[in-house]
């Protein structure tokens, strides 16, 4: 690509107006209302059921508030966290799948870019607008859950529970960011909004349904015919874990388990030698839990940035004067 002369000024000029416009468009759109209803329907049901179950718990639990998120009630086989694991991608894809190509199709892209706004600012503004919308929705949902917990359990959460909940919220937003970046990438690649939506949803379904099975099949294929020692078993299990971690959903699940179940020491199995002297059920301090899930968080955040960078490079090289 011939570059006659490098243009002057910050590449992010005009980021503010684009971001605000996108944010406002999202919040007022009918699509947003539908997504909101979808989220509330899927989120409220497990939370209401788990709260009902927690109200009958009599034993003292230092982390009762966190159990609202993780308890899978008897009658409803999914927990709130599990529900989030698939509603966040759907919401993120819904926000991002037509971010760029709809502008193409409405022929508004060249009009926008004729303003003193670089493409950098346009794409980043669209991404940040979507991310901010996602953050608003998730924070609102999070506050509703905490409020319902306060109301129905009648006890205030402890400081460390709020801190763990806040970290969980950050993990959820990062997870949404990955899928938002992915759908943005598809909206840059494909001119047709339907194709990009289909591709994004297809990718999500692949990781949500197919990838765990593929990871397991590959692990079994590469495992030795006979597992002789605990170390060997652990090595095979490790391979399976690493494979499954290519899915953002698996990373999000592990991060959530580490944050909301403070008793989690490790995601794999522990050797009997490592188990000796362990005080069972002793919660990890918050900083140790954060160190435990830090690789997962790193994966989510870095993945989000890399996918966005890919979308950015493709968008910059595209011909927009249609």
């Amino acid at each position: 690509m011939p570059r006659s002369a490098a243009r002057e000024g910050s590449p992010f000029t005009g980021l503010g107006p684009v971001f605000l416009k996108e944010f406002a468009d999202h919040l007022s759109s009918a699509r947003m209302m539908v997504l909101m209803l979808f989220v509330i329907a899927f989120g409220a049901f497990p939370v209401a059921s788990s709260l009902q179950q927690l109200r009958t718990v009599t034993e003292s639990d230092a982390y009762l508030f966190l159990r609202i998120f993780t308890t899978a009630p008897d009658r409803v086989p999914i927990s709130f966290v599990f529900a989030l694991n698939f509603i966040i991608p759907v919401m993120a894809i819904g926000l991002g799948f037509d971010a760029v190509n709809s502008e193409f199709n409405r022929r508004t892209l060249s009009r926008v870019l004729s303003q003193p706004i670089y493409r950098d600012a346009l794409l980043l503004g669209k991404f940040l607008g979507g991310l901010a919308t996602l953050a608003v929705v998730l924070t609102a949902l999070w506050l509703i859950v905490f409020g319902a917990g306060l109301l129905l359990l009648g006890i205030p959460p402890r400081g460390v529970e709020v801190a763990r909940g806040a970290c969980f919220l950050v993990a959820a937003i990062a997870y949404g960011g990955v899928w938002l970046a992915a759908s943005l990438l598809f909206s840059v690649i494909f001119r047709s909004t339907a194709t990009s939506a289909l591709c994004a949803l297809g990718l999500w379904l692949f990781f949500f349904l197919l990838w765990p099975m593929i990871a397991e099949a590959v692990t079994i294929a590469f495992a030795p015919a006979q597992i002789r020692s605990a170390e060997e078993f652990l090595a095979v299990e490790q391979v399976g874990l690493v494979l499954s971690r290519f899915s953002p959903g698996a990373l999000f699940s592990e991060a959530v388990i580490g944050l909301l179940n403070p008793e989690t020491r490790t995601f794999g199995s522990m050797l009997p030698a490592q188990m000796r002297g362990v005080i069972p059920g002793a919660p990890l301090p918050l900083d140790q839990s954060l160190i435990l899930i830090w690789p997962q968080m790193t994966g989510l955040i870095a993945g989000m940035i890399v996918v966005f960078a890919a979308a950015y490079v493709i968008f910059q090289r595209e011909e927009v004067r249609a």
Binding site: A6, R7, E8, G9, P11, Y118, R119, D120, R265, T266, M270, L271, A273, Q274, R276, G277, V278, I279, A282, L284, P285, D287, Q288, L290, I291, L292, W294, P295, M297, T298, I301, A302, I305, V306, F308, A309, Y312, V313, Q316, R317
Partner: protein
């Protein structure tokens, strides 16, 4: 009849041999009715009841009722003739048989010392009769007297051992006594009495006249007693008579170890692969010095534990000593809470403390994670620099 006996005797003699044959003609042939008693002259005590056993023997006579009478009973005395526990007036022994009788003699309290003659006579209807003169002497009462002996009056032990003394109590008086048992020891010493071979605690024991009984005195000293000799006075008492015995406890001191930390906090943190130091405090709460104390520790697999110092030569009573313990979690340890047990052991004495160790992971990998995010951002910035501002 006599011929028959002789014949029988001969028949027996032929079987039993020459010795029996020689005795056969010497069998008694006395005929008559006799009143018999073992001790015709007896001592009785004023105010008490004496029982005299009498036997009426019929040797070779035809049985007939014999009327029993007493004569010469002193004024104020009451003597009953009893047969089979009931007052009787006559007796009828069969041929060559005897009837047991008892004289129940009630001596008045104010009976004067001296001898009294009483005649018991039996009279049959066919001019048969027998008489038994009895001499009853009113004597003075022998006072109650007790004795107390122990074979091992001095025992040695630690404050935690129990001291058991075998004591023999003797009733040296002429009548049965119920003996009360008591003991006087230093403050907080506990004493209990048990039967010689029983486990029941007793406070008194009946002993028949002239007999002895074995009892056990168990003395439990308080745990914190200082070394030294402690006397315990064992007392028995009955009806004004007492006996005393002094037993001695030789208590040697004993050390007692207690393991703790300076603040009493039994938890700490340790980072994986790095050595953490905790300070333990070893105290001797006992009454004697503890020698050759060795420190040991039980930690999870492939952890390292060291003590500084590892051995302590001697620890005097009420002395404190600080011990540094160095714990290194294994490189492959997983963050979380673990239990380690530290022990101080000497001969016959040990103390242990459970220590809760919170294992933390190093933040190195957290830095690596931030580095990866920074690299991703750099990629983005590179893309902006390469393709930006279009």
């Amino acid at each position: 009849m006599r011929r028959l006996i002789a014949l029988l005797a001969l028949a027996t003699a032929s079987v039993l041999g020459s010795q029996a044959f020689a005795q056969a003609p010497m069998s008694p042939v006395m005929q008559g009715l006799f009143l018999l008693t073992d001790y015709p002259a007896q001592t009785v005590r004023a105010g008490e009841i004496a029982t005299i056993r009498v036997k009426m023997q019929n040797s070779g006579l035809a049985p007939e009722p014999m009327a029993l009478t007493l004569s010469g009973v002193p004024a104020g005395w009451k003597i009953d003739i009893l047969g089979g526990g009931q007052p009787v007036a006559s007796a009828m022994p069969g041929q060559n048989e005897s009837v047991a009788l008892q004289l129940r003699v009630e001596v008045p309290k104010d009976a004067k010392p001296g001898s009294q003659q009483v005649m018991l006579s039996a009279k049959g209807s066919r001019l048969q009769s027998a008489e038994l003169p009895l001499t009853l002497t009113v004597g003075t009462e022998t006072p109650a007297k007790l004795s107390l002996k122990s074979r091992l009056p001095s025992l040695r032990g630690t404050p935690r051992s129990s001291f058991e003394y075998s004591v023999t109590v003797g009733n040296d008086s002429g009548k049965d006594l119920t003996v009360a048992l008591s003991a006087q020891g230093p403050a907080n010493f506990q004493t209990t009495f048990t039967e010689g071979f029983g486990s029941n605690e007793i406070s008194s024991i009946p002993i028949e006249a002239g007999q002895t009984k074995d009892i056990k005195v168990k003395v439990t000293p308080p745990r914190d007693v200082k070394a030294g000799d402690y006397p315990v006075l064992v007392k028995v008492a009955a009806e004004g008579a007492t006996a005393e015995l002094r037993v001695t406890l030789q208590i040697s001191g004993q050390g007692k170890l207690a393991l703790s930390t300076t603040g009493g906090r039994l938890s700490g943190e340790a980072e994986i692969g790095k050595t953490s130091t905790y300070t333990l405090v070893l105290t001797n709460d006992g009454t004697a010095a503890v020698d050759e104390i060795e420190m040991t520790g039980t930690v999870p697999t492939s952890w390292k534990v060291e003590f500084n110092p590892r051995t302590i030569a001697t620890l005097a009573p009420n002395e404190k000593k600080e011990v540094q313990v160095l714990v290194t979690p294994a490189d492959k340890a997983i963050a979380g809470d673990y239990v380690a047990q530290f022990r101080a052991g000497a001969r016959g004495e040990s103390s242990s403390a459970d220590f809760r160790i919170t294992v933390t992971t190093s933040t190195l990998w957290g830095m690596v994670g931030i580095g990866i995010i920074a690299v991703a951002l750099l990629v983005l910035l590179g893309a902006v620099a390469r393709f930006g501002r279009r």
